[in-house]
């Protein structure tokens, strides 16, 4: 069986950044396995701009951002296989994969980095009543059809869900001559960035209906109309608020789900909140030597954060294959808890001996909070208390944990992140 020090599953932004960082950290045996016919992942179809402000200090389009990492990976002679589907990852880190050239093959990996990304919540998971005609697409599928293949899915469009991809596609379809009639959002707030609501909807006079959902789909062969209704606080439709929109296309932008079938078969413990693996400060899962980063770990709002996180996963994987990851391990595990409005943290545990001087802990809130504080408790002691004008579920938040602070508190068992009114 072929042996490779670090196998990276997925050649999107996370996989590329992990590979580049691992190579720079001194590992020469790296292999990226990518399902698509090219590297870059979903960024290739995100042709809009706004990427890279943190990483490159300039505003790039998705293909340009991906292109910079692809260029680095090629310059560093990192190996990759395209059109290659990973079928299984065993707890012993044996990767089973297949493609048309090599057939089915197995690789013994020293370490594995999971970088499979996420996929969109499909219609089947949304329980929309009505017929099942053609013309219903996830926003990302429509994005691929328009931006890569050059096809228009339709001319009269209704969009359900106000995630960023849905907003971006509302503008994109409008620029290509379609009429986007309405964007309906089940929640009383949008999951998308303010900037996208203004520049993708308001700029083109597209109405956004909050607390609304699709309650009927018409059309036997092809979609011909949808009915939208207002929902109450219980998120159930309010009778008498129904409005019918004729359309030939319904786009769904209703959330992203980390793609973790492979992780589960490897015996990796999963978080029920993020739908991604549970990881420690080194971004390592409960299966030693298997790391996770990017949207397969938790859905990010900015690719810059994906690149940064994936770089850390790559460096830690190198430490693992060199046998250095546990050099300073303290054997002590501090738990991270998210309560009072904070939904989850990544990572879930910290071994103070294995962490860098500063560790970025990322989390999301479960609701919109105005004039509130992000508080960090070490045990019962409040050590951070930062006022924020606004916190929203669509924006990833972060706090910094310092190693010296943890070493000073050897008795501490739990770090808690809370949202507080005062």
């Amino acid at each position: 069986m072929n042996k490779v020090d670090i196998v990276i599953v997925g050649g999107g932004p996370a996989g590329l950044a992990a590979a580049v960082a691992a190579k720079k950290a001194g590992c020469d045996s790296i292999l990226i396995l990518e399902r698509d016919g090219e590297l870059g992942g979903i960024l290739n179809q995100c042709i809009h701009n706004g990427f890279g402000l943190h990483t490159f200090k300039e505003e790039l389009t998705g293909p340009e951002y991906a292109g910079r990492f692809i260029r680095q990976a090629l310059d560093l002679n990192i190996d990759y296989k395209l059109n290659t589907m990973v079928m299984d990852i065993s707890p012993e880190k044996v990767i089973t994969a297949m493609n048309r050239t090599d057939g089915m093959f197995q690789i013994q990996a020293g370490a594995v980095i999971l970088a499979m990304g996420c996929r969109e919540r499909p219609r089947g998971a949304l329980n929309i009543p009505g017929y099942r005609p053609a013309g219903i697409f996830s926003a990302g599928t429509a994005q691929r059809l328009v931006n890569i293949e050059g096809y228009m899915p339709g001319r009269e469009v209704v969009i359900l869900g106000s995630g960023d991809i849905g907003l971006i596609m509302a503008r994109r379809m409008t620029l290509e001559g379609a009429k986007v009639k309405v964007v309906a959002e089940l929640m009383p707030y949008s999951g998308g960035l303010k900037r996208n609501i203004v520049q993708c909807l308001d700029d083109y006079g597209i109405p956004l209906k909050l607390s609304h959902t699709v309650i009927d789909i018409e059309g036997k062969e092809h979609i011909s109309a949808v009915t939208i209704a207002e929902v109450g606080p219980d998120r159930r439709p309010i009778p008498g608020t129904e409005e019918r929109y004729t359309c030939d296309t319904l786009l769904l932008s209703c959330g992203l789900i980390p793609e973790n079938e492979l992780s589960q078969s490897a015996g990796i413990e999963m978080s029920r909140i993020t739908s991604g693996p549970v990881v420690n400060e080194s971004l390592e899962t409960n299966v030693t030597g298997i790391f996770a980063c990017g949207n397969v770990l938790h859905v990010h709002d900015l690719v810059d954060y994906v690149s940064e996180e994936a770089g850390r996963a790559g460096e830690n994987a190198v430490k693992y294959v060199k046998g250095q990851l546990d050099d300073n391990a303290s054997g002590k595990l501090i738990k991270l808890a998210a309560t009072d409005g904070a939904r989850y943290t990544v990572p879930s545990t910290i071994d103070p001996g294995r962490m860098d001087e500063n560790l970025t802990v990322r989390f999301r809130v479960g609701d919109v909070y105005k004039d509130s504080y992000v508080s960090v408790y070490y045990g019962d002691e409040r050590v951070q208390h930062r006022k924020r004008q606004i916190l929203a579920p669509g924006e990833m938040e972060q706090v910094i944990v310092k190693k010296e602070d943890l070493l000073k508190r050897p008795e501490m068992e739990t770090i808690t992140i809370k949202i507080e009114k005062e």
């Binding site: 293949e149 303010k194 004008q389 929203a392």
Partner: protein
Amino acid sequence: MEQRHLTCIGCPMGCQLTVEMDKGEVLSVSGNTCKRGDIYARKEVTNPTRIVTSTIAVKEGDKERVSCKTANDIPKDKIFAVMQDINHAVCKAPVKIGDILIENAAGTGVAVIATRDIRKIS
């Protein structure tokens, strides 16, 4: 005197801004909670601009379309005119990131450039 209402895009707050104007001159901005709102509102009511991103048809390439963008921001009211030029343009592979695909889109003086590489297929 006229009033314009805007939503600030500086952060997730989305402050509702009111701009008071007289003959194209900004008299006051209100509703903002920080300085970014003031700057955004003044630019948005006097000279709103946007970057336009789209795709252009490619001949003899390994892809049907090459993604592209305006090299700088263009006046907001020229977006559809620029899109018309983009939709009529055809380029030939190979294409490199940064290649100029349209020199002067819709008379704005701004070029449309490629945002990805396209290989030539033989």
